[in-house]
């Protein structure tokens, strides 16, 4: 017999409310994570409009499936994972992600130190959004979300080698953008 029951945390109460379909609790959960999830969706979507669509669909899925949340990880990670899956599904539906098995060689990527302090978040997002959909997807999953290439291959239905190859291309493109930005900035400073 349980003599003491652990008091429910705010997150647990929130989840219970959402499971019960209480609209105020759902609104609370939305308010809690909407900003972060919007940033996540903007990284995966080419435009902010599509990011909003992605987020709308993602949150509807969150509320429809929240009873399946096992509470074995923070709620934020679970919500984030749903957003990423929604992004993958939408991109697949729009045929923006063609499955390819590239194994082409890319040159050595310089591993010099990169400092992004001088860039605003909008600039960084713009750089990522300018990538081709499949590169953007692999770059997001590997560099920012922290998945390994094997996991990315399983998520995207491509081989591990293809994931690595596409990541290298995305990385090279981004590095080129950063170098061009730096060069422009330096020329601007010198001219002044």
């Amino acid at each position: 017999m349980k003599l003491f029951t652990k008091p429910k945390s705010d997150e647990e109460k929130l989840i219970e409310g959402c499971i019960a379909g209480k609209r105020d609790m759902q609104r609370l959960l939305y308010d809690l994570y909407s900003r972060k999830m919007m940033a996540v969706c903007m990284r995966y979507a080419p435009t902010s409009f599509e990011a909003e669509d992605m987020m709308q669909e993602g949150f509807v899925k969150v509320f429809a499936n929240i009873q399946n949340f096992k509470q074995d990880c923070p709620l934020e990670f679970w919500v984030r994972r749903i957003m990423i899956n929604t992004a993958l599904k939408q991109l697949r539906q729009k045929s923006l992600m063609t499955v390819s098995h590239e194994t082409e060689e890319v040159g050595n990527i310089a591993s010099e130190d990169v400092n992004l302090t001088g860039y605003s978040m909008d600039e960084l997002l713009a750089m990522i959004q300018s990538l081709a959909p499949r590169y953007r997807m692999v770059f997001n999953l590997y560099a920012i979300e922290g998945y390994n290439h094997k996991e990315i291959g399983e998520m995207l239905g491509i081989s591990e080698g293809t994931s690595k190859s596409q990541y290298s291309r995305a990385r090279a493109i981004l590095q080129g953008m950063l170098e061009r930005q730096d060069k422009t900035y330096q020329e601007h400073v010198i001219s002044q």
Binding site: L124, A143, H149, K164
Partner: protein
């Protein structure tokens, strides 16, 4: 170096992760409203699925009920049509003589066949010389007439507790067994064997062991200790199975007489009962008057058939009482937003409006016009409900003429606002609420029905009916209630002059179904009923902004009818 091997994280990955992993961006302000709308639509779909399931379940139950009723009716009518059977009385089992062997040869043949079939059984009696002697001694005729098929000597014959086999439908001692499928009897107690008494032809000599034969008729024939001095005579008609016959032949005759007597008395009882019943029915029919009382309860679903206005059909912006343009409304973008909200509200209303539980009760007097037609009229009460879920409210504003100060009226539902075109406020906007709320529409009517009912008998107890009629419905109250306390609920009584609803409404109804006579005077009928109103709920549909249709209900009519008895007896 292959790119495939170049997957080590370095400063670029770390920098991007540091800057973007926990980054935040502001979503569009109306994104939650869109999500809320999606959730409402999804909930409505779930509700519709559940409602559909329950409707199908109800339909399946009804079909099952109707089929069972029809089957029962068919079954009853079949049993009534059997020759010799009386209405409402199950036919008594007729004594089956034909299957019994009529000659010794036939009996023996049947017995031999049975023996072969039951070779695997524990005991197979064989006819022995002793048996034949016993048979001769007991005075059995060897030619025509029912005789015993098997009887065995004590030594190799059946012992107490043994089974013996007989021909189907035939018992060696009782002549006939009513269950031809079962061909085994049971011998209890002793059995007259090869003793001197039996060999000398006296089967029931003193000292002979008692014999009991239990047949499937559960009749026990007991031959007690026979005393030859009694010489008791058993007058005809007073023969008992427990009596003590002097010989086997006497016993057989006694049994035959008893059977005939039982059969005669059964037939007499049957005919007497039938005569009594027909007299009762005739008396009931003759005694009934043409008047009857009828109580009906009709649970139903109600479709009010009212839509919401199309934003394109709304009054133009030149009109001062414009609907979609909130010139001096709550915000600069209110006009466009309100327009979009009207479309969304209309779509939502169409999706979420559901017929809710409604019912009608009626008390009617019936007058039999002809053999099968009945005119019914009386008084009734009906309560019709419908409900919907909404995210939108209508906000209306007035401008005070002198001070030019603007103030807001209580928000109302879009439904109520669109029942007339009297958006008399200076500006109106349709706004989205934070949380969805339920709205229930309720109409209470006092009804005066008049109808004609046709009944056709399927059997004595079952009948089918078809009914049609019209009714005048007087509106007692109409209300639109919301669960949102901020939104105004409205209620109109019969005396309200500003009620947009029709005060008197005519409707037509039709019903078919089956009925059961519970007693000669009382019947219960059940069947689907459709009721259609001849006019719209709103008194002047041309003035209403929303499209108006004619409402209808679909329900199940359950009625109890009591046939009044005639006053002259």
């Amino acid at each position: 170096m292959s790119s495939a091997n170049n997957h080590k994280r370095n400063s670029l990955e770390d920098e991007f992760q540091r800057r973007l992993f926990d980054a935040e961006a502001r979503p569009a302000p109306d994104l939650w409203a869109r999500i809320d709308h999606d959730l409402t639509v999804q909930e409505n779909k779930d509700y519709k699925k559940r409602a559909l399931f329950y409707r199908q379940l109800a339909a399946a139950c009804f079909v099952l009920f109707a089929l069972t009723g029809a089957l029962l009716a068919y079954n009853y009518s079949d049993s009534m049509n059997q020759p010799g059977a009386q209405p409402g009385m199950a036919a008594l089992p007729v004594t089956k003589q034909a299957t019994a062997p009529v000659t010794v040869e036939e009996a023996m043949k049947a017995y031999a066949t049975q023996q072969e079939e039951s070779a695997a059984m524990a005991y197979s009696p064989k006819e022995t010389a002793g048996t034949q002697r016993v048979a001769r001694a007991s005075g059995m005729r060897q030619s025509k007439g029912p005789v015993a098929a098997a009887s065995t000597a004590l030594n190799d014959g059946p012992q107490a507790g043994d089974y013996y086999n007989v021909s189907p439908g035939y018992s060696p001692y009782l002549g006939y067994t009513p269950m031809p499928g079962r061909s085994r009897g049971y011998v209890s107690g002793g059995f007259p064997g090869n003793g001197p008494a039996s060999t000398q032809g006296n089967l029931f000599a003193p000292g002979t062991r008692y014999t009991q034969i239990i047949t499937w008729e559960s009749i026990t024939v007991t031959f007690g200790s026979n005393t030859p001095t009694t010489k008791q005579q058993y007058p005809l008609g007073n023969r008992s199975l427990a009596a003590k016959p002097q010989s086997f032949a006497e016993m057989s005759e006694a049994h035959q007489a008893s059977r005939q007597q039982a059969q005669q008395s059964s037939e007499t009882a049957q005919s007497t009962l039938a005569a009594q019943q027909s007299k009762t029915v005739e008396a009931a029919m003759k005694g009934d008057s043409r008047w009857s009382l009828n109580l009906a309860y009709v649970p139903a679903v109600f479709e009010q058939n009212i839509g919401l206005p199309d934003p394109l059909a709304m009054p133009s912006s030149n009109n001062r009482n414009m609907f979609s343009i909130a010139a001096s409304g709550p915000s600069v973008n209110a006009s466009q937003e309100s327009f979009q909200n009207i479309s969304a509200a209309r779509e939502e209303f169409e999706e979420s409006t559901q017929p809710a539980y409604s019912y009608a009760v009626e008390a009617k007097a019936g007058f039999k016009l002809k053999e099968k037609f009945k005119l019914l009229t009386g008084i009734g009460y009906s309560e019709s409900r419908s409900r919907s879920k909404s995210n939108f409210i209508v906000r209306q504003f007035w401008v005070k003429p002198r001070s030019n100060e603007r103030y807001e009226l209580s928000p109302s539902t879009f439904f109520v606002s669109s029942l007339n075109d009297g958006f008399s406020s200076d500006s109106v906007s349709v706004a989205r609420t934070g949380d969805s709320f339920n709205t229930e529409y309720q109409y209470r009517h006092l009804t005066v029905p008049v109808g004609l009912q046709y009944e056709h008998d399927l059997s004595k107890d079952w009948f089918v009916y078809a009914a049609a009629g019209v009714a005048a419905n007087f509106l007692l109250e109409s209300s639109v209630k919301t669960t949102n306390p901020e939104v105004q609920s409205v209620s109109y009584t019969a005396s309200d002059n500003d009620s947009p609803f029709r005060q008197v409404q005519f409707s037509g109804n039709g019903s078919v179904g089956v009925g059961k006579r519970i007693s000669p005077n009382l019947t219960l009928a059940l069947g689907p009923e459709v009721r259609n109103y001849f006019n719209t709920l709103v008194a002047d549909p041309d003035k209403a902004a929303a499209p108006q249709g004619k409402p209808y209900t679909i329900g199940m009519n359950m009625s109890l009818n009591y046939q009044l008895s005639s006053s002259r007896k």
